[in-house]
């Protein structure tokens, strides 16, 4: 029988009283603002103004005829898929490594998980110092190892900047994948591997036939969460490059920020935010579809 829930006289009042502050905050600071964004996106709100005349779909028309928007859209996709794919690959590999028995495992695990804990501004600061084209240690190490022959312009060239930002993002956020996957890896019954070994399965076959099917639902969920959060991510890009050089790292959140708080065209910023929100909904739907199918196949 399911756990009973006590019902006493006065419980209803207590229940609503206890939840009231949470509901109030969620309505005032999340629900109402979300509606407000939609309203603003149909208004012409200029610099220093907080509302403006209704202009219909004009903001959306302006956005969709602006090449900078499509650059930002393209950059967002590169940023999201580049980051998430690398985070999953490294996260899975390192999770499987940390799942082995070895001395000082706790220490290795702590070091590997630390990037996820440190503040973004700290990560950015450290990497910017390492990326520095004159005194940066990265160029020094790569030249010394013979991988490159002249210093790279990590953040100052349009061709390198996105790669560098993704590198920092992956370094900072892959531990999330490790944490999520370590839990499920440890839950795979050891007998299954032993049985497979007796049946003559190779290490690769054991990975494909036992490990992967076991972790697939969690892997997909992790990828979904990382996709959503990476798509939202503003601070790491803004702090690394500010969207530059020449908009080469401007993703949609950075674009929204620039429209709203640099150009002070709030209406257009709201329109971009809403378009981004819908793109995210599509991504969400696709992921949910694949997750359902993966579950059905099991």
């Amino acid at each position: 029988m399911a756990e009973n829930n006590t019902v006493l006289p006065g419980d209803r009042t207590l229940a609503y009283l206890a939840i009231a502050p949470s509901v109030a905050i969620m309505i005032l600071l999340v629900a109402v603002p979300t509606v407000t964004v939609f309203i603003i996106s149909f208004q012409n709100v200029g610099a220093g103004e907080l509302s403006g005349p209704f202009v219909g779909l004009r903001n959306f028309e302006r956005i969709l005829s602006d090449p900078a928007f499509f650059t930002a859209l393209f950059n967002s996709f590169i940023w999201v898929f580049g980051s998430v794919a690398l985070e999953i690959v490294f996260g899975l590999g390192i999770a499987m490594l940390l799942n082995q028995q070895f001395a000082l495992r706790g220490l290795a695990r702590a070091i590997i998980l630390t990037p996820y804990l440190i503040p973004t501004v700290v990560a950015v600061l450290t990497w910017k110092y390492m990326f520095n084209d004159i005194v940066g240690v990265l160029n020094y190490l790569l030249i010394a190892a013979g991988i490159i022959d002249h210093p790279l312009q990590w953040l100052n060239s349009t061709s390198m900047a996105m790669f560098s930002v993704i590198l920092v993002g992956v370094w900072k956020f892959f531990p999330f994948v490790v944490i999520a996957l370590l839990g499920i890896l440890q839950a795979i019954p050891q007998e299954q591997y032993e049985a497979a070994q007796i049946d003559g399965a190779s290490a690769l076959q054991r990975f494909w036939r036992i490990t992967l099917p076991h972790i697939l639902p969690v892997l997909l969920l992790t990828a979904l969460l990382r996709t959503i959060w990476t798509f939202h991510k503003f601070d790491i890009i803004y702090l690394m490059t500010g969207g530059g050089p020449i908009n080469s790292t401007t993703t949609l959140p950075v674009f929204v920020y620039d429209e709203a708080f640099v150009d002070f065209t709030m209406g257009r910023a709201a329109a971009v935010a809403i378009i981004a929100f819908f793109i995210l909904s599509i991504l969400l739907a696709i992921y949910l579809f694949f997750m359902k199918r993966a579950e059905a196949r099991q």
Binding site: M1, N4, T6, V7, L8, P9
Partner: protein, 350 residues
């Protein structure tokens, strides 16, 4: 001490009626057992007596005070939960002292706690935390905690179900002796008929939110009020053979080869085809088909080891039982009164 009266109590969860128009009295100082399969409403009824659930309609009277809407703390009841509900962050001592502390007991708490602990024999374990205790010790702690403040009524919600089978037998015996010593009105919920028969002064059999029968263990066993009670109590349960307008019932242990009875007894004879024999040591269980004069139906016989017979599978043997041991249920499954039964049988024989 007080008796508990339940007056036309119903409880609905949305559309679902968990308890339906129940009238019941728990006598002062006695153990009343609420017995039934899971989902029959027995736990809901107990929780309403405790004040953890508000009845949808009806009244609960404890002593001579209407307690229907009283908060649990104001009912002066004690309860032992199925999972014992010991406070994990407190020591055993503090667990037992908890009811005294929250009620601002002004006597000697230490003395009371040690008295309650000694009643159940855990006085050496008072410094421990619940997680360092065995299942039996936790159950005793829960008992001590519920008794430390002399409650009017003692409620027990399947307190033995988390113990292993061996421990359960001895715990049941202890519980019975314990209740006799302190003599507090007790209401005990269980789905285990052995527990119910062994513990209860009276048993209330429930099913589907309604009471099927209330009575002493003997009454319930010998004269089940309906087909449900007949098939729920007893192991194996009563044989039930459906005839045209009624059902005939008889217990497996009184259904024996004709040779076991003395000549001249008023017997009801049945042809019995043996299909399978289960050897249990003290008894043998014979599974087979009843035949003439009953319609072919699967029935069971329980032969004590003292019966000298070697049942052959496939053979048809003449079995019998005393006429007075037959029970009849009408088309609705309700037991027919004894006088009416005799009349029916005579007509049938005639």
């Amino acid at each position: 001490m007080a008796k508990v009266e339940i007056r036309r109590v119903s409880k609905s969860f949305g559309e679902y009626r968990a308890v339906n128009e129940v009238n019941l009295t728990a006598e002062d100082g006695k153990i009343l057992v609420l017995l039934g399969p899971s989902g029959c409403g027995k736990t809901t009824l107990l929780r309403m007596i405790a004040g953890l659930e508000l009845p949808t309609s009806g009244d609960i009277v404890i002593g001579d005070k209407t307690a229907t809407r009283l908060h649990p703390k104001d009912r002066n009841i004690a309860m032992v939960f199925q999972n014992y509900a010991l406070y994990p962050h407190l020591t055993i001592y503090e667990n037992i002292a908890f009811p005294l502390r929250v009620r601002r007991f002004d006597g000697n708490i230490d003395e009371k706690v040690k008295w309650a602990a000694s009643l159940v024999g855990i006085e050496n374990l008072l410094a421990r935390k619940p997680r360092q205790m065995s299942g039996g010790e936790r159950q005793r702690t829960a008992l001590a905690r519920s008794l430390v403040r002399d409650p009017q009524v003692f409620l027990l919600d399947e307190p033995l179900s988390n113990l292993d089978a061996k421990l359960r037998n001895s715990a049941r015996e202890e519980l019975r002796q314990f209740q006799e010593r302190i003599g507090v009105t007790s209401i005990y919920v269980t789905h285990d008929q052995v527990e119910a028969m062994g513990l209860g002064d009276r048993i209330c059999v429930m099913q589907g939110g309604v009471i099927r029968q209330v009575g002493t263990p003997q009454e319930i066993y010998l004269d089940p009020a309906d087909i449900f009670v007949a098939s729920f109590i007893g192991s194996p349960p009563m044989n039930l053979v459906k005839e045209e307008k009624r059902t005939v019932g008889f217990r497996p242990e009184i259904f024996l080869p004709e040779s076991c009875f003395e000549a001249g007894e008023d017997l009801f004879r049945v042809q019995f085809t043996i299909q399978r024999v289960e050897y249990l040591g003290g008894d043998r269980i014979l599974y087979g088909m009843a035949g003439n004069p009953l319609p072919p139906t699967k029935v069971v016989s329980r032969l004590p080891a003292t019966v000298n017979m070697s049942p052959e599978i496939g053979s048809t043997v003449s079995f019998a039982l005393r006429q007075t041991d037959l029970r009849y249920f009408d088309a609705e499954g309700v037991a027919m009164p004894v006088t009416q039964r005799a009349a029916v049988r005579k007509v049938a024989n005639g």
